[in-house]
């Protein structure tokens, strides 16, 4: 996530695919069609998690906690 050495921090440009095997198309327009299940669950977020190793998944959860703690401490001072 915030670590530049992490694969998910690799910037995506128009001329090459990214580490997740996506091929960047020329001037493709984003869409949310198919992004959500009919119960509202964000399938793109699930796929994002599933493309990561268990270590990376836990690192993402830990990063969220760490960031929350920083914000909480800042708001207390």
């Amino acid at each position: 996530m915030g670590n530049p050495s992490e694969p998910d921090a690799t910037p995506i440009n128009d001329s090459m695919g990214d580490d997740l095997g996506r091929q960047a198309g020329p001037a493709a327009e984003p869409t949310v069609e198919g992004a959500f299940a009919n119960d509202g669950v964000d399938l793109t977020l699930i796929r994002w998690m599933l493309q990561r190793s268990p270590t990376e998944r836990l690192r993402a959860a830990q990063a969220l906690i760490d960031a929350t703690w920083v914000l909480r401490n800042q708001s207390e001072t």
Binding site: A37, D39, G40, V41, D42, L43, L45, I46, R47, W48, M49, L50, R52, S53, P54, T55, R57, L58, A60, A61, Q62, L64, I65, D66, W69
Partner: protein, 157 residues
């Protein structure tokens, strides 16, 4: 204390405490995009393992998350007499359970689990289908709220 899941895993591993990770952290390791603050584990409740657990909890300065705010340490007797032990440690909240689901025994929990590589550690984690089943059995509002994400994650795996 800020939860540190990696350090909690390392502490459990170093102490040799036999356990299976369940609950929210297990769901995350299995790929569900959810957030949680506590580490839930089911432990083997035999004398040797409980002894190792008590020593570890002492090192982690564990106390019960007592609603009345009392300072209660987890002793061997207390751990054994409570099926659910909600603890606060210097590495964050740690819930030590004797059972999960519809009273699954230790052997059954192990049979429903598998080992995942987390960093340089091997961590035994309850499988996602069993996590879902345990949430259905618990049937609290917070468990029901999590079910759609868990079910979709299982479908996508």
């Amino acid at each position: 204390m800020k939860p540190d899941f990696f350090e909690l895993f390392r502490a459990l591993d170093c102490a040799g405490v036999e356990h299976v990770v369940v609950g929210g952290v297990a769901a995350i390791l299995e790929g569900a995009p959810i957030a949680t603050l506590d580490l839930d584990i089911v432990c083997r409740f035999d004398d040797d393992n409980l002894h190792r657990l008590v020593i570890l909890l002492e090192e982690l300065e564990a106390r019960y998350r007592d609603p009345a705010g009392r300072d209660i340490r987890p002793t061997l007797d207390r751990l054994e007499s409570n099926e659910v032990n909600l603890l606060e440690t210097k590495l964050g909240p740690l819930d030590v359970l004797q059972r999960i689901g519809s009273g699954w025994s230790w052997d059954e929990v192990v049979a429903r689990s598998h080992v995942l590589k987390v960093g340089d550690l091997e961590v035994r984690v309850l499988g996602l289908a069993s996590i879902i089943e345990s949430k259905m059995v618990a049937n609290r509002e917070k468990d029901r709220a999590m079910l759609p994400v868990l079910r979709r994650t299982l479908e996508e795996k």
